[in-house]
Point group: C2
Chain length 350, copies 2
């Protein structure tokens, strides 16, 4: 429960100097204090204020879309974002790429004993800003505390609920040979930002995570009227994993054109230095869309007209291939397989 | 994503001898393997099989109720249950005590590197059984892996979605002086079961957790037609915390009768031995209900007619009290305050 409990019988938290202790997860006054002073203060709204075990939402009609993601990113604060806004964006985007309008979020916090309350407050403020910007409301929450050494600062699991507009039906198994493959912007920014912070690397131009909510962009894309088959955000595993998934779900192959894939020069350089392939790196504010070939120009124009799709590009096409291979024409004119990795390239990227 | 990805290009897991490794959270083939062989195998259904970032649910109408809970119980396996079924029951119950019919669950897993796959399989099987018994479907999921020493085996965050029948409106702020306070069964079983396992205590009669889904019981209670104001399950913080919350939300006092509160003799004895107050101990299969006094007999009869309410009892009444105190007439005829604890009595109880 993250709800409103009457104030006046718990002392305010010392957010500046205090730390999370086991009592903050115990269901007693200390937990109420944490909830009231920190969570309700920043995230409070009419739904959280109900203060019951579950939250009643207004009457709804239509096809609901739900998605959930646990966030364990390390470090918790990284160039361009933090686990708070990331936990909002990640789940909002999973609902949005289904074509749905995200409305509600829930959040479960697992806090490690000893975590500074000031850092927790920064995270919660960041969540609140991200939720407001995305137009979603945090309607239910929960807080647990584990002993030092049994967690890692903060883990946040968010669940998103949205509704599908009439007539919208997107799915990973709807790609057909001939379809166009579009990407909304540059690849690799999030993964490189995380890694640079983790490894204490500094580049001439700072590389920021692209973490952002994509529901404005997806709404603009749907409004274009283009026959979109699939949208998906290439997070863990990067574009390579996302396209391999779609290829297998649809029973098709995909041909990419390396020269058409937008990558920032500084990200490209960092990947070279670090021995990473930008196609395997997680993104947190990009999406790939597959649409009917004849609608590609229209969809691309709609994407480029949106602030989050300015660097959108047509990067390839769907082909017939019983092996469901994803292949790429390289900048040097050759062709290579775009496989997905067996294991992890960058653990705890989101 | 816990979805269906085409089989045939990942080797099966060695569930008997294998362990979770970082690659299982990396978004690559190893993660797909874990999802396919373990999660989809036990939890699979038509919704998970969609295999997209979000899950599309059938058209719905009505007032939705959502609730979320992170589960960090230690130990993961305890007498009468485990974190798997607990993570289903906890969230199903939070939706059910709102008067709603729980339909869907999502689950976010945070796994610690090195955790035995065999234990994970037992947990997932237990979740699947619990979900089936409660009549809810797991419709979306996510898996993350953290390094050894940054987690504690398995944490599971579940989110529940349900719908309110026409005319049902329960809330913690609806208790009124004169109302009856009912409890569905014995107190303290879950907390004592956890503690006995944690401390390696053995009693003559084994004490089992009461972890169970309460949506059958709540449906029977609503069907009785009694004017129920509030239902709530006394988990963390126990009955004492739950009644203090309600008293403050409603601006009333509550008087309990200790002699009427059902407690198993072996749980009572264990509490005595361990210096615990059963009123502060978490329960995972009990609920407290507050209803109009004139409907108390009817509601009690409905509860007792249900397998999960056989030991139900009228344990007190709501009174006028500007201080919102919860007080109890003791077995010896005195009166004591039932305060809620400031910190935790038993950390990581759920």
């Amino acid at each position: 429960m993250i709800g409103q409990v009457k104030k006046g019988y718990v002392r305010p938290l010392d957010i500046k100097h205090g730390r999370v202790d086991m009592s903050h997860g115990g269901g007693g006054r200390a937990m109420v204090q944490l909830i009231t002073d920190l969570f309700a203060n920043h995230l409070g709204n009419e739904y959280l204020a109900q203060g019951n075990d579950g939250t009643c939402l207004p009457p709804c009609t239509g096809r609901m879309v739900v998605s959930t993601d646990s966030h364990v990113v390390s470090p918790l604060f990284f160039p361009g974002g933090d686990i708070g806004c990331l936990s909002v964006h990640g789940t909002v985007n999973d609902v949005a790429v289904m074509g749905a309008t995200p409305l509600y979020l829930t959040a479960g916090f697992i806090l490690e004993e000893g975590f500074p309350l000031e850092s927790l407050a920064r995270i919660v403020e960041s969540m609140a800003r991200a939720a407001k910007a995305a137009g979603v409301k945090l309607v239910a929450g929960d807080t647990k505390v584990v002993e030092q050494g049994k967690g890692d600062g903060v883990f946040i699991t968010t669940t998103g609920v949205g509704f599908l507009p009439e007539g919208v039906h997107l799915s990973g198994d709807l790609a057909r040979p001939g379809d166009a493959v579009l990407l909304s912007g540059t690849l690799g920014d999030h993964g490189v930002a995380i890694l640079s912070k983790r490894e204490n690397l500094s580049f001439d131009a700072p590389i920021l995570s692209d973490t952002a909510a994509l529901n404005g962009l997806t709404a603009a894309m749907l409004a274009s009227g283009a026959a979109i088959r699939v949208m998906r955000d290439p997070t863990r595993g990067g574009l390579a994993a996302t396209l391999n998934e779609i290829a297998h779900q649809s029973g098709v192959g995909i041909h990419l054109d390396e020269a058409a894939i937008p990558i920032k020069p500084e990200v490209d350089a960092a990947c070279e230095l670090l021995g990473l392939d930008p196609l395997n790196i997680a993104n947190e504010g990009k999406l790939v869309a597959i649409c009917a070939a004849e609608d590609a120009d229209r969809l691309l124009a709609a994407m480029r007209a949106h602030p989050q799709g300015q660097a959108a590009a047509l990067i390839g096409k769907v082909v017939e291939d019983p092996n469901c291979f994803v292949q790429m024409k390289t900048r040097f004119g050759g062709r290579r397989m775009v496989d997905w990795l067996s294991g992890e390239q960058l653990p705890r990227i989101c």
